[in-house]
């Protein structure tokens, strides 16, 4: 008997395919948060557009397999997935951003991701299946040459070790939080976890930091622990100071953000000159400085 399955050989070949694809991508950045509901996907989608405005060739992988949102936010929901000469073609949004999401493989927007396999014991293999799905999205999607590929990770930290193994030259993580004490407690844990895995932290984004009155422009803190606005040189807020990471920016709460996301257009396209729009551009500039 010989090892007909050659499982090690097959896994090695899979990794070679990932490496070949990722070699054509200059910067790979994960957008993550310790907790759900902090607006991570909104930040990822608007950062994608901010960099596209800066003339970067941008792709975004929606790695949140059980709660994909990026396709909807970038106006490409419901489009079919297409097979080209060199793998699956990412869907290109009207704004020129290449998008891949498991949403494209589902029959409609109501259908959740359900995997085939032995019933009642999916906890045994679900994690491996989800990891393999991310690996296939990297190796089998024809991303082409990109300046930036953003990974919109699911809430929590569980996806990062897998991503760091698949993409060893990950430039770093953009950590999204809101200024609530609970979210900040969790983000501290997440940052410790990221550091343990040797992945650089590019910086912290504080979402929903304040509310800006549309009538008078007065800014009101939404949470007790809102941080001081970063200085023009990239000053730090409390949590960023404690954790020794740059505060990339603070995004004020603005109902237009969710209105635009629902329409499938990132806020920046329609409201670039609002405080939130400016904050997204500032965050992109700080990330760009980090790249340099």
């Amino acid at each position: 008997m010989r090892d007909q399955s050659d499982i090690v050989g097959q896994v090695t070949e899979q990794m070679a395919r990932v490496n070949a694809r990722m070699a054509k991508v200059r910067h790979k950045v994960a957008v993550m948060s310790g907790k759900g509901g902090v607006g991570k996907s909104v930040v990822a989608a608007n950062l994608a557009l901010a960099f596209a405005i800066k003339d970067y060739r941008v792709g975004i992988l929606d790695a949140d397999l059980n709660g994909p949102a990026v396709g909807k936010m970038l106006g490409v929901e419901g489009l079919p997935w297409q097979i080209g000469h060199d793998g699956v073609r990412p869907v290109t949004s009207p704004l020129g951003i290449k998008v891949m999401s498991i949403d494209f493989l589902l029959p409609d927007e109501q259908t959740p991701v359900r995997w085939q396999g032995p019933k009642g014991s999916d906890f045994v293999w679900r994690g491996a299946m989800e990891q393999s799905a991310i690996r296939e999205f990297l190796s089998d999607v024809d991303w082409g040459t990109l300046d930036l590929l953003l990974f919109d990770l699911a809430a929590g930290t569980h996806q990062l070790p897998n991503l760091a193994q698949l993409v060893p030259d990950l430039r770093g993580v953009v950590m999204v939080t809101i200024p609530s004490e609970i979210s900040q407690r969790v983000v501290r844990k997440s940052m410790a976890f990221v550091r343990e895995h040797g992945v650089p932290i590019i910086g912290l984004v504080e979402n929903m930091s304040t509310f800006v009155c549309a009538e008078c422009g007065h800014e009101i803190p939404l949470f007790n622990s809102s941080q001081p606005r970063p200085s023009s040189k990239g000053g730090r807020g409390k949590i960023a100071e404690d954790l020794k990471v740059p505060l990339l920016g603070k995004i004020p709460f603005d109902p237009k953000i969710s209105q635009c996301s629902d329409k499938g257009i990132p806020l920046l396209m329609e409201h670039l000159n609002t405080p939130a729009g400016k904050a997204f551009m500032q965050i992109a500039e700080r990330i760009e400085e980090y790249f340099q």
């Binding site: 010989r2 097979i83 359900r114 995997w115 293999w125 491996a128």
Partner: protein, 158 residues
């Protein structure tokens, strides 16, 4: 996982794995064989259904791959409910290629150029590209205010 040959007090070597439909390994099991390097005593482990699924979830083909994997093969074959892919047109894409022949011949009317002045300077290049892509996709060689409005409507902008 490792096995010990008690008789020789030696760690057994992995010999190979057979898929769930081969040899003795049927009914969803995978047969994994080890042998003692000293006495050549062999032992085969039969996995249970969950363990077999765990290995399959790595995206490997038990029993060996006989043909190259198709794109997103594991994801697509493993989803219970799924959509089917379509073939991408050989040349055109969701957005036209930068060297599309129509691109060079596109002109903007004066009125359309004036409209661009209302766009924040940082966005002008992107808006120009979006509108031109729309024009190419829809066969316009002259971009006027009407084409701009149609492009805006298409991407949902007000």
């Amino acid at each position: 996982m490792k096995y010990l040959c008690e008789q020789c007090d030696t760690v057994m070597n992995f010999i190979g794995a057979l898929g769930p439909d081969e040899g003795y390994a049927r009914e969803g099991s995978m047969r994994v064989t080890f042998a003692c390097p000293r006495c050549e005593w062999r032992i085969s482990m039969l996995t249970n259904a969950q363990e077999t699924q765990l290995v399959k979830s790595l995206g490997v083909t038990l029993g060996g791959r006989k043909a190259p994997a198709s794109p997103l093969e594991l994801v697509h074959t493993s989803l219970v409910e799924k959509s089917e892919p379509v073939l991408h047109p050989a040349v055109a894409g969701n957005s036209p290629s930068p060297d599309h022949p129509l691109k060079a011949s596109i002109t903007w009317t004066e009125e359309a150029e004036t409209r661009l002045k209302n766009v924040p300077p940082m966005l002008v290049k992107m808006v120009r590209k979006v509108v031109e892509n729309y024009a190419i996709e829809n066969g316009y060689s002259v971009i006027d205010v009407e084409v701009i409005d149609k492009a805006k409507n298409k991407i949902g902008m007000t």
